[in-house]
Symmetry: C2
Subunit: 223 residues, 2 copies
């Protein structure tokens, strides 16, 4: 990883055209070949960047101080260095990577294991039930045996309702399943998403991750 602090201008031509006037910035070159240009704000997002795979050509002689970064798609990032205040390189090695907990996949697993959270007598048909346009998070049957398609989100927004609507349209063409009801399950459901869901006859339920995990721990100890 190479860290350069320099006064520079930057021009990007690719999916859009962008220009950065001269200013002091951090230029970060990673071992994967990516280059990013950071100001002292904007959280972690750079002002400009080039994602790998790409190649950096550092100018020599005539165009010394000019870095040209190119990728396969023909996108181009040109950095012109005017004054370099710092330049250091560091070998970091391969990172062991991140361990995550609490994302949608985990919610889905917990809910599938405790499907009766949705109602007494409910039974799981399967997780990731395949359809022509993608897998439905959970397919199950309620106490009366009616099919229910469940879409799970951490945060329930309109696009999640649209997604479930597409699945329902498809599932309801299958006579072995129809009629299929929809259930929109999320830790938090945005008001507009709830309105849209209800308007389409889709039920909504908010999930309590901590409580799902808690019961799961209890089950794990009992069996």
């Amino acid at each position: 990883m190479r860290l350069v602090i320099a006064r520079c201008t930057v021009d990007y031509v690719g999916r859009l055209t962008a220009h950065l006037p001269s200013a002091l910035r951090l230029i970060l070159v990673k071992a994967d070949g990516s280059v990013s240009v950071h100001a002292d704000d904007r959280a972690y997002k750079p002002l400009n960047w080039m994602s790998p795979p790409c190649t950096v050509r550092e100018g020599t002689g005539e165009d010394a101080g000019t870095w040209t970064v190119l990728n396969k798609a023909g996108e181009r990032l040109v950095i012109t260095l005017e004054e370099t205040l710092h330049d250091s390189s560091h070998e970091l090695g391969v990172d062991p990577g991140l361990v995550k907990d609490g994302v949608e996949a985990h919610l889905q697993a917990l809910l599938a294991d405790q499907i009766e959270t949705l109602g007494p007598g409910w039974r799981l048909v399967r997780r990731e039930y395949p359809t022509a346009i993608g897998p439905v998070d959970i397919l199950c049957r309620d106490a009366a045996g009616a099919t229910v398609a469940v879409e799970i989100k951490r945060r329930g927004e309109i696009d999640g309702v649209e997604q479930l609507t597409r699945y329902l349209e498809l599932l309801n063409r299958d006579p072995r399943l129809a009629p299929v009801r929809g259930l929109f399950a999320a830790q938090e459901i945005k008001p507009q998403a709830r309105v849209l869901a209800i308007d389409r006859g889709i039920d909504c339920v908010t999930l309590d991750y901590e409580s799902l995990r808690g019961f799961d721990d209890v089950d794990a100890r009992l069996f």
Copy 2:
């Protein structure tokens, strides 16, 4: 901006729970208060981060080498430094910022100014036509006087078709406008999006940004 290269472990507890085992990484502290932990890959995205506004407390004495980053929402990022290989700070000042060109807003302006690109005799009603669920990019009338709602995207995908579908549903309830046709306009339309659009009776058109901009320049010179 502070740059630290160190062997460290990181724990994040907030919207999810995440842990990073010990490894050499870059820790970037920006003037806006944000903290990010980078490996030597993954383009510009950090392994862990905390967005501003947040506060960093650097441990002293007993918990020296432990940084605790907190935000208002109670999210917590704890970085434990085991070995510091580099530590430098740099005053960058305020960045003059980025000049962009070629995004959706610009496409919309160009197309609105040259609405006859869509067909001879077409007339603009207005850009950003307001509805209860948000503004329609362009509302216009074709040569026959029929209303057309245009949704503009740089890349046309399924969610854009869904968005236009919702607008059309609403607009068609207005007797002064109905019947309203839909037109999905993008620089590039994905096959699946095109299939869905056509299935719903929505026309598709691909926009040539260069040519729109070219004609615009000509117009600018003529008038």
